[in-house]
Symmetry: D2
Subunit: 155 residues, 4 copies
């Protein structure tokens, strides 16, 4: 693990806008998640809940919250690396605090350890009923930054 | 945690068939996952990969594997409880061993601790390239069985 | 998972004092950990670092931090249950943010989900160099409360 | 994450003997854990249980099992790297399957993903009552190999 602590990071408006657009591709677009805020070491996303997000009992599926927690953590990490790096998830762990059934979910991810090899982030998923927000899941996510030229893209 | 070890469980053909059909509802149907085998304490699922399952670099999204690992573990737990119980995920942790890019994923979940309050399962997600199978993710999943009458369904 | 949210808990001075003393028994006494503060849903502990807490490179061993994170989370849970209940750890996950090498560790645990079956807590372990405190590990801990009469004690 | 799969590793008798001795230093020596077998990608350890390993109810403390799972996984990783590398734990997650109360614990760790940056291992902790062995805990451990010259040792 690197010993470097928090460093001052600057996130240009162009890069933030790019990440907000880039967030919603592939599986994440299919799930309907949208990036809504990008700051250095932080990212926020949102999804309007529809019937396709639910499980057999009508609650929001754990997989929806897990995907959101993972992907939002990944983009929080993207705010701290240069454009020639990709972020891959090494592992994550998520606890579901209570069944979620609101009309909307918000996810906020924060990098708690920046490093050149290993980046660690926390994600919180909140359920919205009207203006009432409650935390429904918390995740700890381990990510790694890999130079683009070491990835063989499948696009 | 209960101290009861593995007990002999019987899974009727009716119950197994019901669980295989029930597996693919809501978010899981939307994701295209299918139940393919149900045995006492074990469940197997599969998904044909399409472009909607990928992430920004063309690999299969971590959220697809996480959702599959969680949901398949849940149904492995369902094979051990009576029909008046629902299974909810308390938490899970998943490690991604290598980028997945095959045409199909298979997930196999096994209950490693059965109990009246807490059920623990392991899931393994495999990537298929032709007939070549490789493990791409492993998860440890903690579940709880709740009597149906204690759940307020959202259906 | 239970749906009950945060409830108002009262922790008597007698119960708090009992938990602070009870904290340091068996393996935890052997490790030199001490309870230093108990509030409803919160617990704080501390250990003076000696050579026996280190690993092969001279850093504080991950197992010291993990044991502290787990045990302190357990006592945070104890503040919310009646005296006829025991707390057992179902599972935990801990991320190590940076190597720890200070003269003292402080651990603060907070219950983030109270329930009659499942209790979830977060623990933060901080390294102290003089007056400088830095977070070295974060854990998410799942616990269960079991009535004493269901445990066959080994004392 | 690297894409390299399992590679053929050779572990010299000298290196294996060194790792078996090196295993039991610092906190691990203090806890009484011993290395008992080292093979490429695998490590086995053992501890004779004494009263200092127990918690408030007389069971073996979760921290004992967690430390053993972590440290044994670390030495399984050491069997795959050259002598100029150190292994640090990035994170781990451990599930406790049943209370442990035997006279001895055995831990077996296996590397499930080898890589130049990230190594992933599984550990299984077994409780021994006479000749009867039962699995009491399972862990998934993420490690990183760091060249010695990048670590500032605290010895």
């Amino acid at each position: 693990m690197n010993k470097d602590g928090a460093t001052a990071h600057v996130l240009s408006k162009e890069r933030a806008d790019f990440l907000l657009r880039d967030f919603g591709r592939g599986f994440v677009k299919f799930c309907g998640f949208e990036g809504i805020a990008a700051d250095p070491g932080r990212f926020e996303s949102r999804v309007q809940i529809e019937s396709r997000h639910r499980q057999q009992d009508g609650f929001i599926h754990a997989g929806v919250m897990a995907t959101m927690a993972d992907h939002t953590a990944g983009y929080a990490a993207f705010t701290l690396v240069s454009q020639d790096h990709r972020i891959l998830t090494v592992e994550f762990k998520i606890n579901f605090l209570r069944p979620a059934s609101g009309e909307c979910l918000i996810c906020r991810a924060t990098v708690i350890k920046d490093g050149s090899r290993i980046i660690i982030a926390e994600s919180e998923v909140c359920d919205l009923h009207g203006r009432q927000e409650s935390v429904v899941a918390k995740a700890l996510v381990t990510l790694t930054a890999v130079p683009v030229n070491r990835i063989v893209s499948k696009d």
